[in-house]
Subunit: 456 residues, 2 copies
């Protein structure tokens, strides 16, 4: 066993206890009731950054959740790595589907089950431990800066401002981000593309109060019936989005690149089996990998209205609601898409109802250049730990701030993700493999070793 | 002031206290947690029947909520009236829309606000007080039987059995039911038609667990998207129901009857104003009164799925649900309609999802003959209290057991309703006008006076 593996083995229990201390804090950014938990989690990160060896570590208040910043400057002329991660997590509902307590990390069959175990407490924590190892072994030849925010899951609004106000402080040669997945435990991959996002909420109002569905049914517009008709019409029979001008800015991906994408290992039967679906469903003319990687999508993330309790209630409700997201691709602008949706939704609303559209957060898509030194260093790092070169892939997910970094800080990001689809992030029973946690730390250490060489 | 008005005036406070004692019991039949309240409410009714002067009053256990039965036999050869009512109420959600506590009767501006104030505790209570008056004043020349059930809002399943087992006991010349509305406070009306009902619940399952809407969105069927498309297709652009054979058994109403219906006072502008809607919406080719009176309808009574909490959550959920009701008209069979819906819904489900259809309760439509003596007596009774003849109307609501009475007991029902649309039954802030409560008692007393004459 080499020194690195030995170090991880020796400090395993402490590593887990440190990570668990973050996981136990229910830092759900979308719920105001968790505001105190956001500060608690930021403070805990500050302690962990000091403990890992940072010269300074600070909790910066913002208008929302605070930003944690820490750094170790070894040499003003050495290359600088900015590590970005987020300590906020998704809501845990539906609670009844969790097999363990969502904020009590529990190890079962080599996996840590907990909200945030992967996304992104587990993945960002690996960077602190890789940094600790390099520093303790006098191997750190890069300057390292850490920036952890608490609003990634709700659009990073205040991190944009923080970046704008701290361009000099955040200066770096590359931004390292572990918040994505790899193909499988034996197939390392680096995410080179991310979709962007537009998230909106709609409210449809029929009569001004709930009505008896017998006395009024058939004569007065039912807002649930109308909402369903309206959202149903947003996609056509080819599963294309019907909003006028929606596809105007979509970059066409070349046949060459599509051919390359088709070479990534993908077993459709296994994919369907894991989800227990008989058939997949998506835009006509594109493969599954293309549908999530290079094409936009429209998903209802939530819907509610009327009586949803036990048994029956014959009611024609006053209101119906939906939350929806559109994943967008390179060159589509989230604000423009949001406005197009709003305009369209208002235009298709029949006169018998009132509609209200509330845009939530959004973010641009991102494409990472595979020619940059950091990418080459990451390739070699994966080769050291996995014995094979990582495959460049495009993820359907979104990390809106990544394109913001590019614009505000003029710095490219490298998406060094160690998650798996099976980790069920954003879902009940989120988990993270211990094997990936430890191999991730190793790979990051190797990244620094090669990155320094590449740069100098 | 005549004796009858004087009696009501003198005993007003006691009447209200008695009614309030029923209203305070949260007898929500669709929720199992309220099982003890059903028994409590039945026992309270039994006490009130004894107090009003019944010779016997019993609480009959059933497999569900108990049936209360009481009677006063004055003369075996005299005509017999069976009073039917229900002591169960609708759920009270959404709670936040109530301006008063839903189970604490509160009088504001001449109205009692409380769940059940009208439907049907308030309306059925009038019968006990009219009976009390007639008995105390030695005016009762009919036999009176009372039957109060606790499952009307959930389909009266066990009352069918109770009726089948007690055909002799329940023998009567007419069944009196106050569970409907009149046109307005100055325009008495008698409901001569009721729609039937079919109520179902559907569940659409996409993937076997909630997914990240970025990683999977666009490639895996979203059950909310699919549910919306499926239910949206149940009605067409003319607001007709698209289920094959749905209209096969609908009785065509003659142009003569439609012309008569068109004469009932109806102010569309006021109707829209009261509901705060710009336009009405219903089946092409029919008026508003026809749409609720003689045509079937399809309403989503509830829908839910995915994330419905505060803020945002980007999720592609595993399941989506809806509760829906179809109001049916004379000659349509609820079981047949339920089966047609199920068959159709399963047939239109795309292969990328699984669907489950659960039928709830149903009931036939009903048409009451206006030639029967009880109807004529009721006409005269209204004339006494309101100074004008009541208008025969058709209601869009359903009281499934009414057609059951016809079949099992071979007895016609007379729908002597004193509610108003403004009473918001089934909705938050249900209320009942004190004026209607007291005028209702008067009218019922007059009904007995004329009914006895008609019969003898």
């Amino acid at each position: 066993m080499n020194d690195l593996k030995q170090y991880i083995e020796t400090h395993k229990e402490r590593f887990l206890e440190e990570l668990f201390s973050l996981l136990r804090i229910p830092s759900v950014s979308s719920k105001t009731e968790h505001k105190p938990d956001m500060l608690k989690c930021a403070e805990r990160w500050k302690e962990l950054l000091f403990a890992a060896g940072c010269d300074c570590a600070e909790v910066h208040p913002t208008e929302g959740a605070p930003v944690v910043y820490g750094e170790k400057i070894v040499n003003k002329n050495a290359p600088t790595v900015l590590v970005y991660g987020h300590y906020d997590v998704m809501p845990v509902e539906p609670l009844e589907l969790w097999k363990t307590s969502p904020f009590e990390p529990t190890i079962i069959d080599g996996r840590i089950y907990c909200r945030g175990a992967n996304d992104d407490k587990g993945q960002s924590f690996m960077h602190a431990k890789a940094f600790e190892y390099l520093l303790k072994n006098n191997e750190l030849t890069c300057n390292v800066k850490f920036m952890l925010e608490g609003e990634e899951e709700v659009g990073s609004k205040n991190l944009y401002t923080f970046c704008e106000q701290n361009v000099e402080k955040l200066k770096a040669d590359v931004i390292l981000v572990s918040d994505t997945s790899m193909i499988d435990s034996d197939t390392p991959s680096i995410t080179v593309g991310l979709r962007g996002l537009t998230y909106l909420e709609v409210e449809v109002t029929g009569p001004n109060h709930d009505l008896h569905s017998g006395l009024f049914g058939g004569a007065v517009a039912n807002p649930i019936n109308i909402l369903c008709k309206m959202v149903a019409s947003i996609t056509d029979e080819k599963n294309r989005i019907t909003i006028p001008h929606f596809y105007d800015d979509v970059l066409t991906v070349s046949n060459e690149e599509r051919a390359l994408m088709a070479k990534a290992p993908f077993n459709e039967e296994k994919y369907k089996e894991a989800l227990d679906v008989k058939e997949l469903c998506g835009e006509e003319g594109f493969s599954t990998i293309e549908r999530t990687g290079i094409r936009p999508s429209f998903d209802l993330c939530g819907i509610w209205g009327g009586y949803t309790g036990e048994g029956t209630k014959t009611v024609l409700p006053s209101k119906a609601y939906a939350k929806l997201s559109m994943r967008i691709v390179p060159n589509q602008d989230p604000d423009k898409i949001s406005a197009l949706f709003q305009q369209h939704f208002e235009a298709i609303a029949p006169k018998c109802v009132k509609v209200k559209v509330t845009p939530h957060h959004g973010g641009n898509a991102y494409v990472s250049p595979i020619e940059m030194p950091a990418y080459k260093a990451a390739e070699k790092a994966f080769e050291e730990t996995y014995g094979k070169m990582p495959i460049p892939t495009r993820s359907g997910g979104s990390i809106p701030i990544i394109s913001g970094f590019d614009k505000i800080l003029n710095t490219k990001s490298l998406l060094l993700g160690f998650g798996l689809e099976a980790d069920a992030i954003h879902s009940p029973n989120e988990s993270y493999k211990l094997e990936h946690l430890f191999k991730g730390i190793e790979t990051i250490v190797w990244f620094y070793r090669y990155f320094e060489k590449k740069k100098s």
